[in-house]
Amino acid sequence: MTGVALFAAAAIVALAASAIGSAHAQGKTASHAMDAIGRNPEAAGRMTVPLLLGLAFMEALTLFVFAMVFVLAGRVS
């Protein structure tokens, strides 16, 4: 296997693994948020900002891997 093929395979695995983690965390957050809104609909407005910020931090983990893949891709020969 060439280096590029190996890198592509490793990149896919790394992205998939990090996406599993992010998706799991985001799903948990969103489900709890929905529960909270269902119990207290008036609080929906105040929950939006912390919820979005929390989701963004989880999303960022996958995106960091994505960015690293692109940064390192230039070094593979």
Partner: protein, 242 residues
């Protein structure tokens, strides 16, 4: 065969995006920079026209739209940091929001990234890192300006573990622009890459789904950038809230 041609075009387009168009005062001017200029001109022109004949009770639709946008931004910042500081920081935070939103959406216009002189600015790390560095320096400047020595002192609290906590605080401040810029860049660039991949796989109708998602993401990412900026500035300029 057309798929192969598309894939080839996509590959060359990615390289062309960073191609230097011309030099200005010894600095390289790329498609990203020209797009930024165009977007700035459009935004300035739009707000100039919208605020040319202001009326107490808006008659024109344009003024109503702009008033709604500015009031929502102001309301959001006010909810986070209070009336007094909101008046000071809304120009900075609002400009960030408008510029990032327009940049994100400029990537959805057909030809973005393929036509010379036209590429979505936020899909390049250099642009988002620049924006994030402005946030970083603004945080330090306003922190020292508003709190004076207290701002430095708070980095060591609690004093029992002062060395450790100081290192942690410095690390936190240094990592912030990195995470802030990487999040925005990777989101927009990643969206573009996914659209490109779908376009290569099935050129008809399939990319529309991702483009629709990109419409939502573009707004959310602009909002998250501004929300985090607001949080950082609020934290730096004082702990008390009314």
């Amino acid at each position: 065969m057309s798929f192969l041609w598309l894939a080839e075009g996509a590959a060359t387009a990615a390289g062309e995006q960073n191609a230097v168009l011309f030099h200005l005062f010894g600095l390289e001017v790329t498609s990203v920079v020209t797009t930024e200029w165009a977007l700035m001109a459009i935004v300035i022109l739009f707000f100039f026209i919208a605020t040319r004949r202001l009326e107490r009770v808006p008659k024109s639709r344009l003024q109503s739209v702009v008033e709604f946008a500015v009031e929502s931004l102001y309301g959001f910042v006010k909810g986070q940091m209070g009336e007094e500081r909101a008046r000071e920081f809304v120009p900075l935070i609002g400009s960030f929001f408008i510029f990032i939103l327009v940049s994100n959406y400029s990537g959805l216009i057909p030809g973005a990234g393929h036509v010379a002189g036209f590429a979505a600015p936020t899909s390049h790390w250099s642009v988002t890192l620049g924006l994030a560095l402005v946030v970083f320096f603004a945080t330090q400047y306003y922190g020292v300006k508003k709190q004076g020595f207290n701002y430095i002192k708070r980095m060591f609290q609690p004093y029992i573990i002062a060395p450790l906590i100081f290192v942690m605080n410095v690390l936190d401040h240094v990592v912030r622009p990195m995470s802030l810029s990487l999040r925005l860049y990777a989101n927009i660039f990643g969206g573009e890459t996914v659209v490109l991949a779908l376009l290569v796989a099935i050129p008809y109708f399939l990319p529309i789904t991702t483009l629709l998602l990109e419409l939502i993401f573009g707004f959310i990412q602009a909002f998250i950038f501004t929300a985090l900026t607001t949080v950082y500035l609020t934290e730096a300029t004082g702990e008390e809230e009314e």
